[in-house]
Symmetry: D2
Subunit: 430 residues, 4 copies
């Protein structure tokens, strides 16, 4: 980047953010750098420093930064004047994506889905999933779970658990009943049973719901993993009470949980699957909903939006699906995931004074610390040492590890070593 | 595109849409083709047919398809492994966009705005604008206008007038009072006066609103142009009653109305300006809100979202702003706009039996026809003749002309000639 | 009243209110007295002062205080141990009321209504009317009018125009669209036409409504009288768009408008009529809804409430209906009403400097004054002179005359004379 | 009652209900008779049959029908032309009620409350309590409990658990979070602990609530008795999180639970207490809220309503309070209550095949049966045998015993014997 030449102003780049970007900006506060370039699991800032990326764009970069195969296809597409923006007109890039998705993902898993393009980001997918479920059932209530995260627009925010973010709405959020997520009240309480009682009891205060929306692993909420049997019980309730089962796989889909869909282990067959983040493979804005034909109830144009047809993303998305023609990536992810888990458990033992607790599955791992402020401190130390590592949970009390699925073992080890150093630095302040 | 080689399936591309895309797909029904390539104001489909584009991605391609200058910068950026996805971390591409926006757009117009990145599409911008206004004022009601279009997520849909789309919500939409847009009830009725009375009268049924959200020209609603004095009166009411003035410039900003912001002619100073569609210049998903510092009331992270940091779009957006260093484009657009108007008025006269009525401003023009189904028929004839031309309005009764601002006169003339032929074809069926 | 003997405390009665009644108390502030006894149109306070009552319990005492015929029946009923409270069990008092209502009121007017007992006060009637209309149509929106008053519970408050009272809800009020009442925007604007356009225009922002709820004369809103042709046009829109027409006759029914129902002059046939206030005739809490059989869609017990079966009120209500066996009362009311109107017009002329404006119909009259605070001052002067006279309107800017229908001419003249004196006192302060 | 003479029509009284009363009528279906007269715990129908009343107007007749002392005062008051209806003007009857309430009830219990007159029935009290709590805290959410019953107007219905009744609203009910009532999920689960976690956890999906509304015994919900320690824990959470504690004592207040307030045993100090039903003592419509001065935040007239000043009810209410000058009634009720409990437990043992389960406290008792339809059958048998006995619970699966507090032991025994016979009749069908 020819930074110096292109900038005539007198402000340093960081000043532009401080002076001209809204106070809502957030990650730049945790990671105070101006990045210029990235490749795979490495990033560089304008001062030439190198970072290992354990954040992966909050799960939008499962295949690493500037994945060479996708990059090549993308440049080629742009050079050939391919259609960049098409709304929902037909393009060859879109047809190819639809085809490859069916062939590589949907059909081999014995599923049957149509594809809806709801807009370019996760919250668009969630909003249209909720609209479809409500329209199809004629019901208004949706069941969501404690510590769920589904988005920031009014409909998605209503199914999001975070009080701080909910308050940002400025209006009461409605038509949602929040139920404890698996294990929310400890192992002695089965919240699926509680949901069942609420459905069966005509005095529970809950109207029959249109849908249940669930993440199989709660990422933003603090890395909570639902048990497969709990998920299956939720699905069974959906069948019994004719509620749509919506799986929000925006963050833990696209291989993050160790399989393409996060619900494969549990063997679910959701009515709607929301995908975004890594679906384009390259970090380009894109989101889709997979919907069963019974839920395909919108009239033409009943939901629309400008950036539903982002063909540059379809091109990289088609290339990304090549990773799933065999189970090689899945097996590799699971092997490396086991390694992460083992290393984290070692750290948890070593830093048991910090109440460290390991949670996760596949390639999404959390290390919860106490007191809650420790996680932020460790993240800060890690950044100083060249590791980009997010926190999550309602009080940002959990270190969240989301390395690229394609990370090589050496870089992964390096990152984990920095994490351990950072824990040590926080554990033993001078 | 090496279509044949890449596709192994037995379905034709159009079949993939018919069988695997949700029934909500819409434009592909009006424009039944599979497009492969586009340049400037021309598009090609997989059968090699050429089309003139008067649709411009519903206003997302104001600078034409694959604008060469932006294309070059974009390819260069990708080749150099520039950061593609950054959430709201700092990147050099983002800093440069912030800088250029201030220097080329905001400061020369004597405005003072911070920039919020609300997510990649228009509805994200509208939702966060509404959230900000409600949070800043502590009020919940928002005033919107008849035939407004602001988006499809619950908060934006609530301020959208279209009944068909509203019903898609599946829940009642609330916290909004709809007021007649300028001229909605004819020239004898001043709806700003009506709004004033509703504000002043403690018995009007309206709580004091947090904000008024307005398009200066209603695109989706059927090309309705508000008078400058009406807009100024709305702004004055906002000042008097301490309501935020939100101008949704998603469609008619970025030069579409003949100046960069659509409200320059009226001399407004909105509290929040929503921009999307053509802000990236290249059809890439991007949206921003310009907000006055009094409205910059979100805490860090109170609104978030994955694709707020789409740096590929920042690169093309910075290049697009180059068009506004001088007033050459604005003058050219106004001149060509006057030409469109004149030609349309000629057609309206010639086809007065179809009740043709010309409406518009700058480079957004509508031709309303009666009976209402005629517009769809003309659009269909135009497509057969190689012109992509949308309809709008609650009953799709208005032909909507949105050529690229950069269209050359010859192509523009050609497109207008096709339109006239198509009107004739519909007027005199064999 | 043996006040002195019965009270052992040291506080004066007025102190009990000041110290122990909620600050929400209101009329006691306008009429600072402790009343002990009342008969016909006269009231006495504990100091032995006599007052003429032009307030009539806000329209709940159309037949005067302690109407002798009803009083006799009531005492007899209680002495015989008649059922006082019956929920919706069958009682002879209730059967007799149902019978007499059909024979004296419903059938002679060629109407066909079932009776629902929704609870003992007006807001119960309005709430259940709204519930019925929404259930019967499957729609949620209700059209209400500016300056309407329908009650203080959440559903009724949502259709009430008063901003001050709406804010008391503490939550946003929803599912209602407020439309200008007849003449709200001056005689040049027909709000029925506006409503028609909102219904016909698919872009008006209004979902198809379940119902229109209307008062034919707005009492609390400041004595606004709708024209018969406007009411008929509203009714026609209800038929065309299959909305329920709900007439809230709580205040202006039971003869207040000069006929038993206020809509007789306009010849309406509402789908639901809400009655309360004077339906019991004696000031006892009672409310009913008259509903067409198509709207009789509640399942048994779907709406309930303890005091639906207040039989003491049924006894006096049956007696009150005797007044309507002939048209004698109606004719007398109309004659006296014309007299009031003439006298008020005289005062308006004399006190034109106070911007006095006469509005009303039948036996509900308003004198609007300017500046708005004058009405309260006149009411205060009147009270000092022995006349109980309410104000109404969003800013309490209208003197509201609601004498008992049974008032004798002499007392009526006396009251009007006091009103004129009071106007004079306010007009020419020493 | 001179029934025959007074009725000229050809329909039998029961036909009037069948033909002219709304289908929502309910108790008349369970108790198909036309009652004429009642005294104490006995009722007579028009065929001269006598019934024992274990229903007591759903708790509105705690002192029996036509209580002689109140009857005498009431007749005397009417004969003297006492004010019947006063809105919130001052009357001597109201002053006396306020005084006696403070002296006999509030002060001796070391409480400090102002009195609000919200309208004549329970739902008015609940609605205004919710409004006050929301206004005072600036929050919107209210915590309610499973199987709660608080009324049928929109605000009260939103805090009511019954799905069937909620659906009658025709609109989604919002701003409420329903939490399991004590013991709802069995004795192993403490729902107060769950509420605590929801309050503490910023990711629970619950905004900080304005209030918790609770019945100490759920009557309509199926006779569920909350433990004193659970209630105290709920109160402690209200203090900690600055939520208003609203006790809805409409049904179980006024002595029904064995003390005047139902929460005396638990030693609560609610912020608002809703009273209605038996507060007038005579079955006359009346409701009040007792509010702490911190909650007395309404402006004058911010909540109003016609029948807030039902003085006939104040007269009997004052007389009813005489019962509480000593603890004689309370002791008697507790003694008789113990007797009921013992007899019911005997029946439960005898009819254990019907899954009979005894629940209750003070003078409100339930006998839950299985299958759920049995309770209705037993109630029907009891009515045939001359006992009026309601069912409650979401599926009407619980026999509900609410005898008058003043019932003599002999009549009580007689009623219990009929109940046992009826159980036997249902248990052993011929």
């Amino acid at each position: 980047m020819r930074v110096a030449q292109e900038r005539a102003g007198t402000l340093a780049p960081m000043d532009w953010f401080n002076q001209y970007e809204s106070s809502v900006r957030s990650y730049i506060r945790s990671f105070p750098a101006v990045f210029t370039r990235a490749q795979g699991s490495q990033m560089w800032d304008m001062n030439g420093r190198t970072y290992i990326d354990f954040f992966s764009g909050a799960g939008a970069l499962n295949y690493g930064h500037n994945n060479p195969r996708m990059k090549e296809k993308l440049i080629q597409y742009i050079q050939q004047d391919g259609i960049i923006h098409s709304l929902d007109m037909g393009t060859i890039a879109k047809a190819q994506f639809l085809e490859k998705l069916q062939e590589v993902i949907v059909k081999p898993r014995h599923l049957a889905y149509k594809v809806m393009f709801p807009g370019p980001t996760g919250t668009n997918a969630v909003e249209s999933a909720l609209k479809l479920a409500r329209k199809a059932t004629g019901r208004t209530t949706v069941v969501a779970f404690t510590n769920a995260f589904h988005g920031m627009t009014l409909g998605s925010l209503a199914v999001t658990g975070n009080r701080f973010k909910r308050n940002g709405a400025g209006v009461p959020l409605s038509n949602v009943v929040t139920v404890p997520y698996d294990n929310y009240l400890g192992s002695g309480f089965d919240s699926a049973e509680y949901l069942e009682q609420m459905l069966e009891d005509g005095g529970s205060g809950m109207s029959l719901p249109a849908a249940v929306i669930v993440e199989t692993v709660q990422g933003e909420g603090g890395i909570h993993v639902a048990r497969a049997q709990w998920l299956r019980r939720i699905e069974a309730l959906c069948r019994q009470w004719e509620m749509a089962l919506i799986v929000d796989d925006v963050q833990v889909g696209c291989g993050r949980a160790g399989t393409f869909f996060s619900f494969e282990e549990a063997g679910l067959s959701p009515d709607i699957v929301c995908l975004s983040k890594s679906i384009s493979g390259f970090g380009l804005p894109m989101a889709i909903n997979l919907i069963k034909s019974e839920l395909d109830v919108f009239e033409p144009g009943e939901h629309n939006g400008t950036f539903r047809g982002h063909n540059a993303a379809f091109v990289t998305a088609s290339e990304a699906l090549e990773y799933w023609r065999t189970d090689a990536l899945a097996r590799d992810v699971q092997a490396k995931g086991a390694m992460i888990q083992k290393r984290l458990q070692g750290m948890a033992k070593r830093f048991s004074a910090m109440g460290a607790q390991v949670r996760g599955r596949g390639f999404i791992w959390g290390l919860a610390l106490e007191p809650k402020s420790l996680a932020g401190a460790v993240s800060g130390e890690a950044f100083k040492r060249g590791l980009v590592l997010e926190t999550s949970g309602p009080d940002s009390e959990v270190l969240k590890l989301l390395p690229a699925l394609t990370i090589d073992k050496e870089t992964l080890e390096q990152g984990l070593a920095i994490l351990e150093d950072s824990l040590e630095a926080v554990a033993r302040p001078i």
